[in-house]
């Protein structure tokens, strides 16, 4: 894919031989959230890796997931480190637990993804709305013709479990 993609002052580089990421962000540009699934045991994993962390099999295929999940933890960046983020600070970084495969194969494991919690226009969601337990869904932020970042937005679904926010 044309390199590099520039976003908020960063060069996002995916060499042609980067067999972990090459297709993931291109699939995201087609607005599908795909993770790798083991062709032997069927378990999915993220980020993309080359062997199954549970059965060590090398076989895998891309598998689409719904992109729906729950905020498992979050942070609010008040002091940006990367210069390109200063104009959108404060912003939320969220750890989203996807609905698929939560608590499998052991109770502590899940498909979890780091992203920003954003409004539909991809500006940061208000801090007062960020909470552990809040329901979210994926929203694809297109950065080039062949690259999109999977971000997350709040949904109107009922929260899961105890809703909690810092100072709330």
């Amino acid at each position: 894919m044309p390199q590099p993609v520039t976003y908020r002052g960063m060069s996002l580089v995916i060499p042609d031989n980067d067999s972990e990421w090459n297709e993931y962000f291109a699939l995201a540009r087609r607005h599908t959230l795909m993770v790798r699934a083991c062709t032997a045991c069927g378990l999915m994993r993220y980020p993309p890796t080359h062997a199954c962390p549970w059965c060590m099999d090398l076989g895998w295929k891309w598998q689409e997931v719904s992109g729906k999940g729950t905020i498992h933890s979050y942070e609010i960046v008040m002091h940006a480190i990367q210069p390109g983020f200063r104009e959108i600070t404060p912003y939320a970084v969220v750890l989203v637990e996807l609905d698929e495969q939560a608590g499998q194969p052991t109770p502590d494991e899940a498909l979890r993804i780091v992203a920003n919690l954003v409004k539909p226009d991809f500006t940061p969601e208000a801090e007062a709305k960020v909470a552990i337990g809040a329901r979210v869904r994926v929203a694809f932020q297109d950065l080039s013709d062949e690259f999109a970042l999977p971000q997350f937005t709040l949904t109107d679904e009922a929260p899961v479990g105890r809703v909690w926010r810092l100072g709330g």
Binding site: P4, M10, S11, D18, H72, E75, M78, H79, V114, L166
Partner: protein, 404 residues
């Protein structure tokens, strides 16, 4: 086969802690290694092994040893930051045990403020984003604080830990730093000072975060047999574990509970090695990259029950005069940031009884144990110490030492 008590730390040394050293990491490393050699009562020709760690920000052993006239039989330059200190102590023991060398100098030299800023600003922020970094850096998650905050926030959710509780870590370490002539920040602070300082990345305030510092540090490891004839009272290594990891070190959030840290696994290795329990430890050095990291490790290693770390660190136990003081030099929050080395150096001095505080004859072992500001920081009868090294939530190291 147990190596308990068969190896010792016999020399320690460090440069000034500053925010602008004005010199190279090579110059600083040479000073720190030389001081540690002299502290041990060794000669350059006695040192034949060298280990160092860095992240592309320092000078490597082949350029440091020759400056001091050291001919090496073994060396290794290791990639890494926090948690490397204890791991390299273990590697030094292994190298000596294997007959590869006899005495190893371990150093870390960094211009962490004036050159390669540890906080991730400047040159580090401008690096292209590739590989596994694509899973987090494009989302504005770049610095250590940004990397760890998800863990800290989840701990607050899981266990009700409060900002005020963990602020006590900074309060305690600032108290200790007020007894340390070397410390960059010598002023004592209050819980209110911490929680009223500006936010960096919630739940971290400015005063929850450690310093960025220029310095070099060195410790020297040799056999207990060799240590007997040297200048200092030997400090024996009872147990060591290095870079113990949670599952999925590549993306540790995949395997929870995310409020669990690597000490969960490390404790089951190190306490049996040393043949002790947490109750036997007199002084700890729990890595304080942030207030939360000290708290998380103390609870994970069993100094209190899991989830009760907030209550533990706010109880007074970790302060000088308390039952088990932590980071008596002021640590990375107040003394200066050294990627863990200074905390081992401090515990070596504690066990020797020669902490370099404001007691006129402190370095000779004469201490008042008066913990009012500007006086003493020697722990009375410190017999066993434990260092809890931190790299990130899923990665840590530990070291248990005793006085002879």
């Amino acid at each position: 086969m147990s190596l308990r008590d068969k190896y010792c730390i016999v020399g320690v040394g460090e440069t000034e802690y500053s925010r602008g050293s004005g010199r190279s990491t090579r110059a600083m490393a040479v000073e720190a290694v030389r001081k540690a050699i002299l502290d041990a009562g060794l000669k350059a020709s006695d040192v034949d092994g060298m280990l160092d760690y860095q992240g592309g920000d320092s000078t490597l052993a082949p350029h440091v040893a020759p400056d001091l006239g050291i001919r090496l039989n073994f060396y290794m330059d290791v990639m890494g930051g926090g948690s490397s200190t204890e791991a390299l102590v273990g590697l030094a023991m292994g190298a000596i045990e294997a007959g590869m060398c006899k005495t190893v100098a371990i150093y870390r030299s960094m211009n962490g403020y004036s050159e390669f800023r540890i906080g991730g600003t400047g040159a580090r922020a401008a690096q292209p984003v590739r590989g596994l970094d694509l899973a987090q850096v494009p989302f504005g998650m770049r610095s250590a604080g940004q990397n760890f905050a998800l863990t800290f926030m989840r701990h607050m959710y899981d266990y009700g830990t409060t900002s005020e509780q963990v602020a006590h870590v900074k309060v305690a370490h600032s108290k200790h730093a007020s007894q340390n002539p070397k410390a960059l920040l010598k002023d004592r602070v209050t819980v209110q000072d911490v929680v009223n300082s500006r936010w960096i990345v919630k739940p971290l305030h400015l005063l929850d975060c450690c310093l960025e510092t220029d310095n070099a540090t060195c410790i020297i490891v040799t056999s207990a047999e060799r240590a007997r004839d040297l200048r200092q009272r030997p400090v024996h290594i009872m147990g060591v574990v290095g870079r113990v990891s949670k599952p999925r070190l590549d993306f540790h959030w995949a395997h929870g509970p995310i409020s669990r840290v690597a000490g969960y696994y490390a404790k089951d290795l190190i306490f049996p090695q040393a043949g002790i329990t947490p109750e036997d430890v007199d002084v700890t050095g729990s890595y304080d990259a942030f207030t939360f990291t000290t708290m998380l490790q103390l609870e994970e290693y069993g100094f209190c029950k899991k989830g009760e770390g907030g209550a533990y660190v706010s109880s007074g136990i970790i302060e000088l005069g308390g039952k088990r003081p932590n980071n008596t030099s002021g640590g990375h929050l107040c003394e200066g940031y050294t990627h863990g080395m200074s905390m081992v150096i401090e515990n070596v001095r504690q066990l020797r009884g020669t902490v370099d505080d404001y007691c006129p004859k402190g370095s000779e072992g004469v201490h008042t144990h008066d913990y009012t500001p500007g006086r003493c920081r020697q722990v009375k009868d410190a017999t066993i110490s434990m260092n809890l090294g931190w790299a990130m939530p899923p990665l840590g190291s530990a070291l248990i030492m005793r006085r002879s």
